[in-house]
Symmetry: C2
Subunit: 387 residues, 2 copies
């Protein structure tokens, strides 16, 4: 743990089949008006909406609704939510859905009482939030983003054609999140796989950096092993409670900052995917899957020892009988096979990318990286290898 | 994650060489009177006392002191602290030391304004704390107990010859803890080893339970691997910063509840050690070391699969060529060798236990367990094997 850090995560997690029983006591901590934020109605189909409305009514809450949050939540929807908060003096924003809905709720939370233009101030200039923050609570219905236990909020400004992410400090984290793995049973298999790979990517982006020997690296290996193991079970039987619950918890701790402590971190796969997404509107996890193997092949010579460790500790490959390069390659090959098993794409062509897009994507991607500082030429090579 | 849980850990951790720089901003969150609680003066020898007093003075604080906290903090000292809090209207209790000092600070925190007898109400009857809780902050100087990031408070009532532990809810956790691994350099090697084994024991007590396949088990394996790896480095070079920092962080997360989520847990080694300690006054980690191998040998037939997994995933033993029983035994043998390497005792005789004590210890130990529900006869057999 060579790099100094502050760790502070005050989100209260209620996990399991009985988790929703905690909603009523949690609601008692807030005033009477609740803004209920949700997506395109899957919670109406599976009965969750009805159950939550019942609890809100029994708790004597006045409910305002913001429905139809898109999978890439828009700035426009966020502003609509902010208006509802102000007009109704909302005391709690309750997000029911996946990461998009929770991201949107956090955006509403910081924007409702913002002095000035929230987009400019908070998503472009990354200013400190100096206004009242409206508390957020969450009921999670899809595992992957980790938004239920962190300060991340990715919002798409359609007018400006920008999808910007921001990690807010702990006072913006959900105050409580209710995680019942059974709520994820109705997520289609492709979305489940996409969420699993999103979590996997978060863990790898944090893992592949630094030469140091860090407790965090061991933690990440543990979470990756559990995630891979449970993913294989869930692919066979999506209603295996143990597997879905492990996947849900891996997603939460995979981006609640504990798996990134004292790490330099990489995040270039996410940067590239952002722009692939901007050009193809692909599912986030699917985009990450298509880019990851070419990316890690491209950079693995700059951090060979860590890739050998990945092969050995995550994939149980007997590396002692191999050269370092063979071992590193064997680990990445296992990653490739896992993506195939998940049913996710291994090329961005499958996601709708065309050859003429590649230079445009390369040039618009934020340049960063872990073991290797990426240039737009490097990114273009990765994109060609992903095509 | 079959067992439902609530996870909530609001302690803010400042970690690293610059961690003490956060003390002044933290102090600004509290009123002017600080009760400084510390041990027998090692912080005066290494200069930490002086640095903290300087920061307190510069922050305009009025400082009240409670010095000389014993390694088994007494109820008497705790009551003295509670009196100081009341008489001086203390706004923050700042614990500077190891787990004993922090445990004592938490005890003072809940007792100062207790209506009635704190010992009876909180340590015997485990009543909910219904009075004002005085906030606690910590500067940690020894790694092992995990008290810096949880609600545990073990207090010895000398008059009643009872050493009782209690885990308080999150509002009693330290509000902030400052963890600079360099502060642990001056801890004598035997104490360092004792702390390492205390952490190791916390992890094993949580690990050895349940047949289920749980993300928490993978997390524990990761922390154990890191702890063992760094312990071996620190034994050679106690001032290896990376190793000491990993050990410090393993201790914190090893008992901050995240490594116990959804687990039934065991804790019988701790129960036995408590009574061995009551009869011999041995160091806690040393007592745990002497009992662990005989205990795990005794129960491993009731949870063989988990012990095989322990051998494979924690100790890298090639278990595929062995019977389950051989593999389980090989893992426990590795644990034994590690205890020897740490320089810790492998028999309670070395700690001052005598043969006539054994039935007395066995009969006074709280009966529990993980894979096996222990009776006093079982405990006596373990004690004889530990002798």
């Amino acid at each position: 743990m060579k790099i100094d850090f502050t760790y502070y995560n005050p989100t209260k997690i209620h996990f399991g089949k009985t988790a929703l029983e905690h909603l009523s006591p949690e609601l008692a901590n807030y005033g009477e008006t609740v803004l209920l934020v949700y997506g395109k109605g899957s919670i109406k189909k599976n009965g969750l909406y009805e159950r939550i409305i019942k609890i809100l009514n029994e708790s004597g809450k006045k409910v305002v609704e913001l429905a139809g949050i898109k999978s890439n939540p828009t700035y426009e929807q966020m502003l609509e939510g902010a208006r509802l908060v102000r007009e109704n003096s909302v005391d709690l924003i309750l997000a029911v859905g996946g990461g998009s809905v929770i991201d949107c709720a956090k955006g509403i939370s910081v924007s409702a009482y913002c002095k000035g233009d929230p987009w400019e101030r908070y998503w472009i200039n990354f200013e400190e939030v100096d206004n009242k923050i409206v508390p957020v609570g969450a009921v999670l219905t899809m595992a992957g983003t980790g938004s239920e236990m962190n300060g991340g909020s990715v919002i798409t400004n359609e007018e400006k054609k920008l999808k910007n992410g921001r990690v807010y400090p702990a006072n913006v984290y959900p105050k409580f999140s209710i995680l019942n793995p059974e709520y994820t049973y109705t997520v289609p298999k492709y979305q489940m796989s996409s969420g699993i790979f999103d979590t996997m990517s978060h863990l790898m982006e944090q893992y592949f950096s630094g030469d140091d020997d860090n407790t965090t690296d061991y933690l990440i290996e543990g979470v990756l092993r559990s995630l891979i193991h449970s993913a294989c079970i869930a692919l066979e039987n999506p209603e295996d409670y143990e597997a879905r619950s492990n996947i849900m918890w891996c997603a939460a701790i995979g981006l609640n900052t504990i798996t990134g402590l004292s790490k330099e971190q990489d995040w270039e796969v996410h940067m590239i995917e952002h722009q692939v997404g901007a050009y193809t509107d692909c599912a986030h996890g699917a985009g990450l899957a298509a880019i990851s193997v070419p990316y890690y092949k491209y950079i693995c010579g700059c951090g060979t020892n860590k890739f050998v460790r990945f092969a050995k500790n995550v994939w149980n490959i007997p590396v002692d009988s191999m050269t370092k390069e063979e071992a590193a390659a064997a680990g990445i090959e296992k990653l490739h096979q896992f993506i195939v098993k998940l049913g996710l794409p291994t090329s961005i062509r499958e996601l709708g990318a065309t050859e003429d897009m590649l230079p445009l994507i390369a040039n618009s991607t934020i340049q960063g990286g872990g073991y290797k500082q990426m240039t737009s030429e490097d990114i273009l090579k990765v994109l060609k290898a992903s095509y």
